[in-house]
Symmetry: C2
Subunit: 205 residues, 2 copies
Amino acid sequence: MTGLRAQQKEKTRQAIIAAALNQLSADRTFSSLSLREVAREAGIAPTSFYRHFKDMEELGLTLVDECGVTLRQLMRSARKRFGENISIIAVSVETFMEFVEHNPNIFRLLLRERSGTSKSFREAVAREVKYFTVELSDYLQQSTQLEPALCQIQAEALVTITFNNGADYLDADPVKRLQLIATTTTQLRFIAHGAAAWQKQSSAH
Amino acid sequence: MTGLRAQQKEKTRQAIIAAALNQLSADRTFSSLSLREVAREAGIAPTSFYRHFKDMEELGLTLVDECGVTLRQLMRSARKRFGENISIIAVSVETFMEFVEHNPNIFRLLLRERSGTSKSFREAVAREVKYFTVELSDYLQQSTQLEPALCQIQAEALVTITFNNGADYLDADPVKRLQLIATTTTQLRFIAHGAAAWQKQSSAH
DNA sequence: AATTTGAGTGTACATGTGTACGCTCAAATT
DNA sequence: AATTTGAGCGTACACATGTACACTCAAATT
């Protein structure tokens, strides 16, 4: 009892999402997309759009949420790859950059709307980044024995660096991409090292 | 021989710039501004705009450049405040956040157009960030004796962290702002500490 | 079999946009 | 004093947008 009707609806809903994602590129902000254009590419009349989303904004928030799901899957897969003969930092960076490489448009959406025009967008992105940060902070806490507050600050720095280098990765050629992975890894190690030293120093004050 | 005519022109040119800056706010991207609207606020006819700028894009690039000038002035003043009884990291963070506080709209412009739609915009912002990074890297090199490559990577990380926390600073209330200054300072120290340790470790390999 | 529902359509409209074109008239140049 | 220049104006146009409204017609419900 799938509901043949509901099935079709879901199908065009996906077509709308796909059309929007497809139009998000290096030179297209989400807010520069038009309802009509998205509808056109999805193969429906402009007014049919409203059967699925109240707004372009509602569509955008859906995309951000979808992105969050993908990112969390990614993190799970990263944890699986860790432990053989590769450090947690290296595997995280590599996995993240793979994500960027395979989902450039949706990553660009996150990147832009993080400091974008719509408050609910900014909040949605902040939420996704927070998931990312909290899980990392928890991981650091159990694996490094550092103070919670320190883990939190450290995690925030790690995420910031990774996220931003991801942005550069988007526009880089293959050679530059390898360099970027190396640079990012080094910068993350700076932070990890510095945080550990910080705790030692302050507890031995 | 100022040219009374040229004086007037400069005046309306500044009016255009002021109007654009004024319209850039938390919920207005540069690309969402319209020529007509800017002209309206500047008190001129839409078509008069073209006497001053070829494009909205040309206006935007002018704003970015103006921002660069302001930023460099800021860095000079930061260096003057250093050395009394405050560390270079602390004074840099404070100065930067002051800049953000006093020029929220222009900082938002930088922030957004960095990953924005127009290539020439992205390049212009990248150029300004690079000035910032290079000067910092030079400073690190002469004051810490670390390898040039290491200084460069370190400077990039420092700038990334500062820039991003500046973005959060924009939307924060006064209490959160003080916290942010403290957090940022700590994160920068992590990096500085980590970079120094990195060099020791690798030279003693 | 009769009725209700709702996804998708097509038409229509008001609004805002960038910019082409020809004008004015005061400042600058000759 | 005569001429040139150019900042600013007003009109006009073609175009794209969001969405209101009344519709169809097949699937779902009764």
